[in-house]
Subunit: 388 residues, 2 copies
Amino acid sequence: MKNFIFQSPTRIIFGKDTELEIGKETKKFAGKVLLHYGGSSIKKYGLYEKVMKSLKDEDIEVFELGGVKPNPRLNLVYEGIKICRNNNIKFILAVGGGSAIDSAKAIACGVNYKGDIWDFYTTDKKAEKVLPVGVILTIPAAGSEASNGSVITKEEGLLKKAYTDETIRPVFAILNPELTFTLPAEQTLNGISDIFAHGLERYFTNTQNVDFSDRLIEGAFKSLIKNTYIVLEKPHDYAARAEIMWIGLVMHNGLFGAGREEDWASHMIEHELSAIYDIAHGAGLSIVFPAWMRYVYKHDINRFAQFAIRVFGAETYFNDMEKTALEGIKRLKNFYKEVGLPTSLGDVSIPDTLLKVMAEKSTSEGPLGHFVKLETKDVLNILKIAMN
Amino acid sequence: MKNFIFQSPTRIIFGKDTELEIGKETKKFAGKVLLHYGGSSIKKYGLYEKVMKSLKDEDIEVFELGGVKPNPRLNLVYEGIKICRNNNIKFILAVGGGSAIDSAKAIACGVNYKGDIWDFYTTDKKAEKVLPVGVILTIPAAGSEASNGSVITKEEGLLKKAYTDETIRPVFAILNPELTFTLPAEQTLNGISDIFAHGLERYFTNTQNVDFSDRLIEGAFKSLIKNTYIVLEKPHDYAARAEIMWIGLVMHNGLFGAGREEDWASHMIEHELSAIYDIAHGAGLSIVFPAWMRYVYKHDINRFAQFAIRVFGAETYFNDMEKTALEGIKRLKNFYKEVGLPTSLGDVSIPDTLLKVMAEKSTSEGPLGHFVKLETKDVLNILKIAMN
C-alpha cells in the first residue's frame, strides 16, 4: 500500500423524502443561493417545486440558472459566475446529475478568482476561496456528489478537461433513490457504466498488497451487476435503486483508491469521444474499457484473472491464467451488451475517420494512464480494437 | 436500506513516517496542547521523542498526561479536564490505542461542560463546545481514531459505558503501520478480534436489501483473516500491518453500518466481562461472539449461511441451510482458536460465579441488541454457552 491522505467530509443525507431537508441543510451555510440545474426533468416530476418550497420555508433567497447539458459547458459556468458576483451569492446548490454538480463546482471556484476559471482545468493552478456547494442528486453516475473532481467542456476546440482538488467536495449531498425511478433506461445504464468505470480505474493498479481495497471494489462490482438486472426489470424497485445510488457515491469518493496508484487512461480516451461526438460519458466508457482491457491485460495477467474469478465467478484455468484473464474481459463486455450498453464505436455510429485525431489529442500533454503508460500509437490501437 | 446520515470528516494521514507530520497537522488547530497517552511503550520505541520534536519544531506548547490504562478510567479523564482548564488548553492530542483516544475524547467533551462528564455516558445529554482531538494511532483495534464513540470505565461500581456523538470524531488521525511492528502478539490479536467484532455487530442485521454493505463487510473479514496469519508469522510485515490498520479504521468509521440496523449486544455483554475481570476487550469479544451466534442464529439462518459461505468459503448444504449456518460459526471460532484468541470464559479463567450478576447488570436499562432482543435470561444463557 502507498502512503495516502484521505478526507471525505461531505455530509450524506440518504433515503426517502430527504430532498425535503434541502432548506434546513442550506440554511446552515447561506441565506441566498444560486440554484443550478439542467433541463425540464426536475420540473416535470415535481422536484423543483419541493426544492423551492423547502428553501422558501427557510427564507432563503433563490437565484436560478438552469440549462446545464450533459458534458457541461464552460460558457454556462461563466454565466453562473457572473450571476453570483452581481448578486453577492456565496452558496451554490446543484440539483441534478454529475453535469449540474460539476458545473456548480466550477462556478464555486470562479466567483472569487480574477482570472479565467478555465485556468484550473488546464494548468496546475488551484482555486482559493471556493464557495461551498450543496447537492441534490438525481442521477447515480459521476459520483461528483461527494468527489473532489469536476469535468467541464470548452465549446471552442471541443476540449473536455478535469479539475481535481479537495476544496471542491460538496458540503452536503442529498440522495433520495425515489428521484431516480423515472430515469430512462438508457440514462440509468450510462450511469451504471460510469460507476463501474470508477471502480475499474482504481482496480487495475501496479500497487502491490492492496487486498482490502481490491475486495471492496470487487464487492461493489458484484452488487452493481446484481442490482442492474433488477432495475432494468423493475425501474421502481426502491431497494435496487438505493443500492446503485449508494454504490455510485462510494465508488468515487476516493476511499477505494486510498493507497493505490490509479489508472484513468480510459476516462481520458473517453473524454475525446464525448467531446467530439457528444455521446454520453457512460456510453463511451462501456466502449473504451473492454478495448483498453484487451490491449493491456498481459501487463498483469494474475490481476485480470482475479477480476474474472472474484467478480464474474469465472472458472479458474490453473494451467492457463491467460485464458482466465480473457474470460473476465469477455464477461464484462457480455454484461454491458446484455443490459443494453454499447460496446463498440460501431454501436454508436462513430466512424473510424477521426481515430488518429483523438489519439493525438488525448496524448497531447504526454502519455496516458499509470497501469500501462499509453503513447499516441497505443491509444490509436485501443480505439481500433473498440471499432468492433 | 434504511434512511441514514453519514459524515466522517476525519483527515486520515496514512503510511510510513507519517507521525512526523504531527506538528504541522496540530499547528492548524492550536499552539498549545494536552498530549495524552498510556504507558511506557511510546517512550520505549522512540515515538515520544519524535512527537515532541515535531511539536517543538512548530513551537507548540505541550502539557502532558500519561498513564491511560486499557479500559480507560474516569478519574484520569477528570484529571485531564482539570489540566486543560487550568492551562487554557483547547486541543487534545492522543497518542496510543483506543484507550488513549477514548480518554482524550472524554476530556475534550468535559473541558467546557460545567456538570459531570459522566453524564454524557449515562444519560441522553450531548456535549457542546467539544474540543478538537488529533490522534496518532499505535494499536489497530477500537477504530476510535475516526469513530464517533468513546468508552470509559468508572472505577466505583465497575461501570463501563459508551458515549456516541458526531462531535467527537477526531479532526485528524495519523496511522503509520510501522508503529505496530512491536506490538506483542496478544495485543495484535486482541485488536484483530475487536476489529472483527465491529464488522459482526453491523453484519447481523434485520435490515433487508443491504447487499452492497454486506459485501464490503465480507471483504473486510476476508482480508483481516488473511493478514492475521501473515502478521503472526512476520510481525514486521509492513504490507500486512498496513492492511490490518486500514481495515480497523474503515470497519468502525460508520460506513459499513450506513443504512443498516446494527446489533451491539455482544459488545454490551463484553463490557460487563472487562469491567469486572479487567480482561482485554478483544479477548472478551472472541469469547462472547461465537456464543452469541450459537444462541441467535435460528433468527436468520440464511444470513448466517451467507456468512459461512462468503467469508469462510464453507460448503453450501442446499438441503440443510442450518448445517451451513452452523459451519460458519464453527469456522469463526476455529479461526480465533487457531490464531490464539480465547474462545471460552474458561480460557481466561473466569469462573461461573458471577454470570447472573453480569447478565442482570448488562440488561439493567432494558434488553440488549437489535438483531434479537436479549432479556436477562438470554444473556445468562449466552454466558453459559461461553463457559466452554
